[in-house]
Symmetry: C2
Subunit: 374 residues, 2 copies
């Protein structure tokens, strides 16, 4: 039912296939974020057409609304939402630390108040597993503590060790054989803490490893160093998931350092704010120069939006506050991400990844690519 | 290029075909409202799949934003929006009286301030024609004055006669042969004023006649009397368009009185507020009893929404403020309207319209159908 195999390598970059009960997924893969069980602004059908094979649901949001017992009773996330391809849920750890009010943290877990209605809730490794087993995603995450950045080394060390203990409890509490439970490596920007976290988790043995506590404000160079230090430690035959990352540049740099899986709200959130990703860089649809621009967002793109809508029309819809603006631009940005991943996989298979990486960085107008990581 | 023919009759109800440069449209027809050049919450592709052959754009909104000259430069509404089927634009008259600020009305036209940015604008019959020729819809409307309800008879009479004079000026100013210009019958609830308005317009000779100044708060019985009085006066071989109407019940009652064309924001606006139309009556998705209801909105409906989403999921998306809620429910409500019109046309062709009308009124939970109008 489950499996992962690396089919191709180019430098440290890997291409592979992740098998789940809801389909095979080629890696490196980008997973659109469907916080509340729907990717914002985009219907399932359009996600499928764009080529999404797996989407993410947020444990924190779904346990609060509509509630995990309800989702379970209606057939889990697949039955409830009607999405027939794979699902991944996070542990709730990240959001409970970033969104909820009045948190009280102990070894047992976290008590908090809902950001929606102030009601009291509790997340522990056991409760996170219960919620995620109710939600029924294909891939679920061990409950973790995500320390903020910056934080004193001592606090990061404490959170990292607690995450390891919680990973053990998560594993003990998780009993669904039709789900894969991943461990989450913490340790902030401290390479020794990261290494300890990874080794402790590997000793327990998980079918996949997530790298958490990134994309919380730390310098990109620190993140790259973390990835480079983890690459030789993490088992090569297990999928590696960099949580909450990121920009196209971030993703290609992480793939260059051996990462297989990504999720981020960026393509949909930016779309709602009028920012489009194109092969020639980012484009803010609010810009007055697009007022009468009859070209599609990206003339080389094959998505529904680029086949049917001009920049002028999108700018008008965005300015007028029309829902269609959010939908059309989200569809485009997701297509851009998913298409970028397709090209990236192809470049790894044909051993042209480094060329692809440099081209991508150049075309996005980012900094010139740094040389292949040593 | 243009044409209209009545192909079937059943009582006063008519089925026919309206030919436009952007396709043939079977009547009676419902036209979804695309105020700013997009039907709120619904992509063109989904409108086409639901069977929409013609949509409406609002002259008032489009002249203010993005501006009619811009739309003209980008290929008219068809080129600008990418909608390839037929378009109809209203005259701007209704909205200038209902939305704009600081109106000054004279025989020449109306000066007003934009509800968007307070900028000053002017609509006259000539300017309304210029705007609508720039927008380039297939069917356009003569500029009219829509009196409020209730209003003193004298005020309604004045508005009606001015509408007739403005219709003459509209006709003189309208020069595009690839557009059909309809006259608008006014006269409020006063049958003699309605008759005078209709006869004056018929004398000028329009290819189609709209009935304006309805759905402004007047009793439904008054509206029905107006339709019954106009039916024998309006030329049978010309399409009749009841502007801004209405509920399914309103539409079937108007078809029973000889009307061919309708538009209304109801299906999309109600969808955004969580109200769904079904064969078994209206359904408010906010209702707590749908919390765990695994059934689609309407088990007998074939729309994308009913094929893929449960009431429980829609309720959750609506409660969570997800864009997909508005989209999925708008798609369903429009499909309901368009499917109702398909069944209505079929019932006229097979001389079962009265049975259809009574069934519809019963199933929607409305008042029992009154007998066929005499």
């Amino acid at each position: 039912m489950f499996g992962f195999r690396v089919t191709d390598r180019d430098g440290r970059a890997r291409a592979g296939v992740l098998s789940t009960p809801h389909g095979e997924i080629e890696t490196p893969v980008f997973m659109p974020v469907g916080t509340a069980g729907a990717v914002k602004g985009v219907l399932h059908r359009d996600l499928e057409e764009a080529g999404a094979g797996i989407i993410l649901g947020n444990t924190y949001h779904l346990m609060l609304r509509p509630g995990d017992a309800l989702v379970r009773d209606l057939g889990g996330l697949h039955g409830f939402t009607g999405w027939t391809r794979a699902f991944l849920t996070d542990s709730g750890g990240y959001q409970v630390f970033s969104l909820s009010a009045l948190r009280r943290l102990s070894e047992e877990g976290v008590s908090f108040r809902s950001h929606i209605d102030g009601s009291e809730h509790r997340l522990t490794p056991e409760r996170s597993m219960e919620v995620q087993m109710h939600l029924g995603a294909d891939i679920v995450m061990a409950f973790d503590e995500c320390p903020p950045w910056p934080a004193p080394r001592e606090a990061v060390a404490e959170a990292t060790d607690r995450t390891t203990r919680w990973a053990r409890r998560s594993r003990a509490a998780h009993t669904r054989s039709d789900q894969w439970l991943f461990g989450i490596v913490q340790g902030g920007v401290h390479l020794d803490l990261r290494e300890r976290s990874a080794r402790d988790l590997i000793e327990m043995g998980f079918p996949g490893y997530a790298i958490g506590g990134v994309s919380v404000g730390e310098p990109k160079d620190d993140r790259r160093r973390v990835l480079e230090s983890l690459d030789p430690i993490l088992p090569t035959e297990r999928p590696r998931y960099l949580m909450g990352v990121g920009t196209p540049e971030d993703i290609v740099e992480a793939v260059a350092r051996g990462v297989d899986m990504f999720d981020c709200v960026l393509p949909t959130r930016n779309a709602r704010n009028g920012q489009l990703f194109t092969r020639n860089g980012r484009l803010s649809i609010r810009n007055a120069r697009f007022r009468d621009d009859p070209r599609p967002p990206d003339p080389d793109c094959g998505c529904l939006t680029c086949r049917t809508a001009s920049r002028a029309y999108l700018r008008h819809l965005h300015t007028a506050g029309e829902i269609a603006a959010a939908t059309l631009m989200s569809v485009h940005n997701l297509f851009f991400y998913l298409d970028m991943m397709r090209s990236m996989r192809q470049s790894i298979r044909s051993c042209r990844f480094e060329e692809f990486r440099l081209d991508l960085l150049r075309s996005l107008g980012g900094a010139q690519g740094s040389p292949e990581p040593s």
